[in-house]
Subunit: 197 residues, 2 copies
DNA sequence: CAATCTATCTAACAGTTGTTAGATTTTGTG
DNA sequence: CACAAAATCTAACAACTGTTAGATAGATTG
């Protein structure tokens, strides 16, 4: 019979924050439960009052990161009907996200594949939403004649995901001098290349 | 007194290939020496006849991956004086590279940060060459008036590295339907956005 | 054949891993 | 203050980690 573990509490949040921070720094397999505990000034065994397992912690951190990314995509979609407003708003939201929850995003990007097969499956289901969001953006852009000739919405989505991942990489791996300006230019490249002229 | 270990031999190559494959699949820390040995039909201890340590194996795999990437960049640079010829040739070389040495590139991209501090330093020195290659490409493009207005060579480099990383990601994480066509469109986006119009 | 070299195996080491059960402390409530 | 609940600590577990020394087999050479 497994013990019940509260789904949410301030303390639990602090523990997940610590886990995200150490996972981001040393990688999932490179991190010991004792590393997480140390950062909180407690002992490893005590973590299991709040967490079911190390794997469960990773899944939860990844899921939180994914949900953040989805929220950024939704903000982008809601920013207006035009492609460029949407992409700019989305990228901007993603960068704000990095400032606030960089560890979660970094772990989600880098350690996702360390999840167990079933956990990975669960994450993929959630990530559908992110993909659908982007597909809607680029499908509508095509209908409005805003997409460059010869560019398929699907390829545009792949490229945009790459841009988001690149911004994330630059931010967490940084420091990149004058990051906001670099980010703006990267997005400009994408938009100038993806939009009809 | 440390044992001497041959710098290169067919057997050693096979062992590094196996290490690269398992590192790519399960991550560095997620991989045990026994996993590498299993894949070769041998026992873990025997690896130390060819390898100094697990860390040394990772460093060597990463270095090989980096050198491949540099070769691709050089091929791109040599493909002609124009920006678009160079970028297209470089991306094409990178994709060919993925087909031949995908594991090495994947490990280099994903597990680089698991290297020890000194090993990381050594890699950074090598990677300078890759950066310089790209900087020369974009600096010359600017001089030739081929770079979009408002786009700095440095930002262009960051964006291009992101494109290469994106292609790598799509390839190793795949399968992506009709990958060559998707890759072409991603590169087109970059070129249309980065070139002066 | 004898001797040497190359490659592998065996067996074990010391340290670390995630995790657990039970005792103990801290916190909140009547 | 007494009691209960929540949170943490202690101490240990079995399994696994990278690594090593020494024995063993196979190939090469004199």
């Amino acid at each position: 019979m497994p013990e019940e573990i509260a789904v949410s509490s301030p303390r639990r949040q602090a523990i997940l924050d610590a886990a995200a921070a150490v996972f981001a720094e040393k990688g999932f397999h490179g991190t010991g439960m004792r590393d997480i505990a140390d950062r909180l000034g407690m002992k490893a065994g005590s973590l299991y009052f709040h967490l079911a397992s190390k794997d469960a912690a990773l899944e939860e951190v990844c899921a939180a990161g994914m949900h953040s990314a989805i929220r950024a995509a939704e903000q982008g979609f809601a920013a207006g009907p035009g492609l460029s407003e949407r992409i700019r708003a989305m990228a901007e939201a993603q960068v704000e996200l990095l400032a606030a929850h960089g560890d979660y995003i970094s772990v989600f990007v880098h350690e996702r594949r360390q999840l167990s097969e079933p956990a990975q499956q669960r994450l993929v289901e959630v990530s559908q939403k992110h993909r659908q969001m982007l597909d809607r953006i680029f499908d509508e852009a095509r209908e409005r004649g805003e997409l460059a000739v010869g560019l398929s919405p699907r390829s545009a989505r792949y490229a945009m995901v790459g841009v988001l991942r690149n911004l994330t990489q630059l931010y967490v791996e940084g420091p990149v001098r004058d990051f906001p300006e670099v980010a703006r230019q990267i997005i400009d490249i994408f938009l100038d290349g993806a939009q009809a002229r």
